[in-house]
């Protein structure tokens, strides 16, 4: 007979192992961020020089300092916070809808953003006059419309997870249709600008953008974590089971969807379409720390940062000085890696 303490001990041990895992991924991400800031087409500064400049121990030459702080830091910061936000949004959305196939783009947030961007690029219509922000502001506004639709849907008590997904697909088709119509009438230059927007790139965001996303993330992340237990109950046993543990499934689902759609909108308004990290990072995290959202959310966040940072660094160094957009790199490198992990995790279940 297994002693009682043994069960508690094993449970605690597992939690500690998971925490260690999250710490290791964070550490690797941090070290890689330093490496990434020291590496690029203009000059390679080396790991230690970069670390010293970042920590303020050594000012470096004016050029070195400028390259790090003005060029690479905003990009790396955006990769870290953007990856974290999209991966968290993906974990939240998969949990709230109880479906492993959904990603932050399922609810139509991205297609809303694309419609906003297309209006700005093709028609020249924008909600703001500031030329730097026309596309960003439009993309954000139109993805907020999707968030608003989710809120409205949440008012129906009987709305199920499947209905949300279907509505998301409908929104995607509707905005896709309008975007295609706009493309049909667009000039070559406009088409090319729109295509570039949809690649998803970290070249566009400025340091102000990156800091803005960071601040949003600092506010939204604890809110997401606060829902961990409710998500655990909901994704473990469905609506009736959730109710039996004191969780209101309808309200939880609505709040989580709004939160994750908001996180997604904030990032893709600046970067353009980046989808894969929001699907893959939560699944990879499940292989590392299981499905408890108290660990899954932080693990997805740091893993999302790492994937995005890695993909972007490869994208801008592989064929330097040509920069391949991060959205493309994520699918090209991340896709096979994701498949490999999935197949490997199936080995255990295979006779």
């Amino acid at each position: 007979m297994i002693p009682l303490d043994e069960l508690s001990f094993q449970h605690t041990l597992k939690s500690k192992q998971h925490a260690l895992m999250i710490f290791i991924i964070s550490l690797v991400t941090f070290l890689f961020a330093i490496y990434s800031m020291g590496t690029g087409s203009s000059s390679n500064l080396g790991f230690w020089t970069t670390l010293k400049i970042i920590l303020g121990l050594d000012a470096g030459t004016e050029l070195q300092s400028a390259i790090i702080w003005k060029l690479r830091f905003p990009r790396v910061l955006m990769a870290i916070v953007g990856g974290a936000a999209l991966a968290t949004a993906g974990a939240l959305m998969q949990g709230a809808l109880g479906n492993p196939l959904v990603s932050p783009l399922t609810m139509g947030v991205a297609s809303g953003a694309a419609l906003g961007a297309a209006l700005a690029i093709v028609v020249g219509w924008s909600i703001v006059d500031n030329h730097d922000l026309t596309i960003v502001a439009n993309a954000f506004l139109f993805s907020l419309i999707v968030v608003f639709i989710i809120i409205q849907l949440g008012r129906y008590r009987s709305i199920s997870a499947e209905s949300y997904i279907l509505v998301g697909i409908a929104i995607t088709f509707i905005s896709g249709g309008i975007v295609s119509t706009l493309q049909y009438f667009a000039t070559d230059a406009q088409l090319s600008a729109l295509a570039h927007w949809s690649f998803g790139s970290l070249s566009r965001p400025t340091i102000q953008n990156a800091v803005f996303v960071t601040m949003c993330l600092i506010i939204l992340m604890p809110t997401a974590l606060k829902w961990s237990w409710d998500l655990n109950a909901l994704s473990m046993g469905g609506d009736d089971f959730a109710i039996s543990t004191g969780v209101d499934p309808v309200r939880t689902r609505k709040n989580i969807l709004v939160l994750s759609a908001l996180m997604t909108s904030i990032v893709i308004a600046f970067t353009g379409l980046i989808g894969f990290v929001g699907l893959a990072a939560p699944h990879m995290s499940r292989l590392f720390v299981g499905t408890d959202f108290r660990k899954l959310i932080p693990c997805s966040a740091v893993l999302g940062s790492m994937l995005m940072l890695f993909a972007d660094t490869v994208g801008r160094t592989l064929f330097a000085p040509i920069v391949i957009p991060v959205g493309i790199m994520l699918s090209v490198i991340g896709g096979p890696f994701f498949l490999y992990l999935l197949l490997k995790s199936q080995e255990g279940n295979h006779d």
């Binding site: 449970h11 998969q94 039996s244 543990t245």
Partner: protein, 267 residues
């Protein structure tokens, strides 16, 4: 004895179909109450009205001396736990963590050593130790059902609502699980269980009281001896039977003989 549940004049309709008509009963502490009735009699519906998964059309339900509608979801889950008939798992977790979800109404973020101890004790009590760190979705149907019962037990609520908690279990585990539930009720003195059961003999053996549900109404409410008469069984289940009375060594048993011809249906 304190009153844990008071249901008065509860009505529930699915569209124009009246499912429950004027249901009234009370549950005191320290009793195991079984709901018996044919498929579709409204057993699950009644339980789901009591825990507010379904909204009753009229009537009052008082739980833990408060009106049902005045309690928040969280307050309700501290007052009553619930074993649903089926659980739809989308992302599976370890058995230990499933049982730990029973502590959810008592946890804000951190799992305390006390919660871990309660979970470990419950796992031990329901003999689930060998599965404790296996994933829920890798268990058999019967094992899963026992894990969900364990989760409800770990919740430590005074009223346990169970919707056919033994339907997927083999013969031995049906008896073991019902014994465990009876033990939990009798050892605490403050708790009671309301259990929808389809097996008439399991109900006769383990219930202190039986509510017989027929055509949306409770047609009989009392001890198994009072409720499970040949006439009642014939009327509700449409079968003939004979009853082997309770003795010192044997519980009361109902032996089902044959289906009865439907008098109204045939002319």
């Amino acid at each position: 004895m304190t009153e844990l549940l008071a249901v008065k004049d509860l009505n529930f309709n699915w569209g124009r179909n009246e499912v429950l008509k004027g249901i009234s009963f009370n549950i005191e502490s320290n009793e195991v109450v079984a709901i018996l009735g044919v498929n579709g009699a409204g057993k699950s519906t009644l339980i789901k009205c009591i825990n507010r998964i379904l909204k009753m059309d009229s009537g009052t339900v008082k739980v833990c001396s408060s009106d049902l509608s005045s309690l928040s979801m969280m307050e309700l889950s501290r007052c009553m736990s619930y074993v649903p008939q089926t659980v739809r798992t989308s992302f599976s977790i370890d058995v230990f963590d499933v049982v730990l979800l029973g502590r959810r109404p008592h946890i804000s973020w951190r799992v305390s050593p006390r919660d871990q101890k309660i979970v470990s004790e419950t796992i031990r009590f329901l003999s689930l130790e060998e599965f404790a760190f296996r994933r829920f979705d890798q268990l058999s149907g019967g094992e899963r059902q026992r894990v969900i019962v364990a989760k409800a037990v770990a919740q430590d609520a005074n009223l346990l609502l169970m919707d056919e908690p033994t339907s997927d279990l083999d013969l031995k585990n049906q008896i073991t699980t019902m014994k465990n539930i009876s033990q939990i009720i009798s050892r605490s003195h403050a708790k009671s269980a309301l259990i929808a059961i389809h097996d008439i003999n399991i109900a006769a053996r383990f219930a202190d009281r039986i509510l017989l549900l027929h055509d949306g109404r409770i047609i009989s409410d009392g001890t198994p001896q009072e409720v499970l008469t040949i006439d009642n069984i014939a009327m509700v289940f449409g079968v003939s039977s004979h009853i082997v009375p309770i003795t010192d060594t044997q519980p009361m048993r109902i032996v089902i003989e044959d289906e009865l011809q439907d008098m109204e249906g045939e002319k």
